[in-house]
């Protein structure tokens, strides 16, 4: 009896281990698949032009910073970097500020037609960005905000607001109203309630949306491309369309484009890593009703 049971026990104890092994193998394979383009981006950014197209490929070239120095000389790199920063931070803050207030109104106030209004707002996300370019151009020209960071912030924050509002409404709805009531009984004004009570408890949602909006702005090409003509307002994403190989338009300077890619990806990766906990918490809370 005991001799017959032994292999069965072994099979049972091995099965979960094998399952775990497969899970790990699958996870590792998938991670590698995801990381290959990132590796290729970094590898190309630190390669010379001639190393880039070698067959068979050079997997680990001797790294060079030449592409980054070339980048600095070809385009006003630091001005573009600074513009990207202010554009992204400004857009994030403006979209969050406006959306938070709007979301509070949608979540807490019973205004006739507010549900329809929220749907209309949400539907506006379906409008392709490129279809709004001409009217937006006219508006910015009328406001004398063409070729300015302020103009770009105004446009993109208004574009991002509908989705931000939509997400934040569900966050605010989950905050027990009793907390606000308690604050009110303690004598807090509405501003104090929003600033000291609602804002802290909504922080995971705000951080998540802030990050998403920041990345959206940081990577945005269409608006800086269409509304900016000088280094006063062009961003890093535009520099991808301006770098060049040699003294003609024929070749594509992939090594420089990849260098811009590295500069653009690095801050996003750092930001995501720093706010990973808030993002996970924000996404999971937003998913529960």
């Amino acid at each position: 009896m005991s001799t017959m049971n032994t292999p069965v026990r072994q099979t049972r104890s091995l099965r979960p281990r094998l399952g775990a092994l497969w899970t790990y193998l699958l996870a590792i394979s998938y991670s590698l698949l995801i990381l290959v383009p990132v590796y290729w981006l970094v590898r190309s950014a630190f390669s010379t032009a001639s190393q880039l197209n070698k067959v068979p490929p050079i997997w680990l070239p001797a790294p060079t910073l030449q592409n980054f120095t070339t980048l600095i000389t070809q385009v006003p790199f630091f001005a573009y970097l600074s513009n990207s920063f202010w554009f992204s931070v400004g857009t994030t803050l403006a979209s969050l500020a406006v959306s938070f207030l709007a979301a509070y109104a949608f979540a807490r106030l019973e205004i006739p037609g507010s549900a329809v209004l929220l749907w209309v707002l949400t539907l506006s996300m379906a409008l392709p960005d490129v279809g709004t370019i001409v009217p937006l151009y006219r508006i910015l020209a009328g406001l004398h905000l063409l070729d300015t960071i302020a103009g770009l912030i105004l446009v993109l924050s208004s574009t991002l607001a509908p989705f931000t509002v939509w997400v934040l409404v569900s966050f605010i709805k989950q905050v027990p109203y009793e907390i606000e009531e308690a604050a009110r009984i303690d004598g807090a004004s509405l501003a104090q309630i929003m600033w000291r009570v609602l804002l802290p408890v909504s922080m995971p949602g705000l951080v998540t949306m802030g990050l998403i909006n920041f990345i959206n702005a940081w990577n945005n090409l269409l608006y800086p491309l269409s509304f900016s003509t000088s280094k006063a307002a062009k961003t890093l994403s535009v520099s991808i369309t301006e770098v060049f190989a040699g003294y003609s338009p024929w070749g594509k300077p992939w090594e420089l484009i990849m260098a811009v890619g590295v500069v653009m990806v690095a801050p996003v990766v750092v930001l995501v890593l720093l706010s990973q906990r808030s993002i996970v918490s924000g996404l999971t809370r937003g998913a529960i009703k």
Binding site: V55, V75, S82, L93, A97, E181, L222, S226, S248
Partner: protein, 445 residues
Amino acid sequence: MENQQSQNRISRRQFLQIASITAAGAALAACAVPALPAAPDAAAGAASAAPGAEVQPVRIAVGGWAEQGTKDLLTNTGFTEKTGFPFEVMLRTDTKETELARMASAVQAGNVPYDVLDFEDELATSFSQAGYMRGLDDLLPADFWAEFPDAMVENHKIWSTYNGELFRVLHNWEMPYWYYRKDWFDEKGVEVPKTWDDVRALGPVFTDEANGVYAQTEGMIKGAFLNVYLAWITLQAGGSPFDVGPEYETSLQYIHDLLHDDKVLNPASLQKDYNQQNADYVADKVAFMRQWPFFYDVARSEDNKAWFDESKVQIALPPAGPGGANMLTYAAGWGHGIVKTTPNMAGAEALFKHLIDSETAVEAVKTSYWFLSARKPVLEASEGKGVAGPLKMYSDAGALGVRPFHPRFVEALTVIEDTASAYLTDQITLEQSLAQATDGLAKLG
């Protein structure tokens, strides 16, 4: 709970007050973000407006590769001193799609991102037909075309004229050259091919598939590269791919043979762009190829210093097809035009006239080869240096045809590329490819 909420809810007035104050604050904060002031352009700074008059600088957009050359040119030729207009050299983007996005939004809103633009053939058809560019005939001197060879005049008529009105004047005139490894040809004791049939015979001479060496390589990936090669070959056959005529059929069959039967052309060419094509050449994997003049510089670059030798990068006339010796290659060009909606038309006109002036054109080619063309005084001034030598050789040989044109060039090239690549990769037959191309082009009107 619902009732409690209703009772304790803030009033709408309260909410609106706070909301409007915060929103106004956010908007003001956004507007307060300082737009970084543009550093004064060195060249523009040197210019001075006419005393007492408030003159807007005239803005010219060029690719990054031409930025410094254009600044130097306008400074050296005293544009501001001569006209009273300061100038600003701005960067345009490097692709037709991105530049179209920028220009379309501005022009349709009645504005302009810049007054004068340096632009290529691909954008020429889109911009002219959209009505973005100003007619230029009234700005040309009476004897203007006398300085241009027939091939350039003809090219202007087809590629830079719309509804009988000129909208662009070329300053850059480049053609695909036929580069070959003279050292390899000498070693093998074979002559440079003069005809398509000669090319077919070179497969067994140079191709060594095991070592990845082919007689010929091309950049034929879809996305305009394949179209350029198809246009080049079909021109040699005496036609245009956009006609989908017998010349095009002959050309497709010829390319297919080079790829699959004659073992001349590397089949991987269908996945290569110009960078990869050049890389093949400098990796000693190819005996000859068609390429734009920029390979002339790539071969001589610091990166390839150890590899380069004059005998490795010789230029000869391309092998002739059924079209004959006067249809060996075509030239493509970049030129200047004025955006119709510019608020600074006087400045734009002054700059355009200055740029097309014969003396400026001669000075330009001394400043940068970006301004090299077959315009007679320009070619003389270049003294055959650099790629001016091959340009003169090709011009003197009368080898230039006109680049195959389609009024809806960008859409048409997509049709041609899709149908041709399907045949060249053996997914469909030649007859099917031609039928689909005819059908696709017919739909464009």
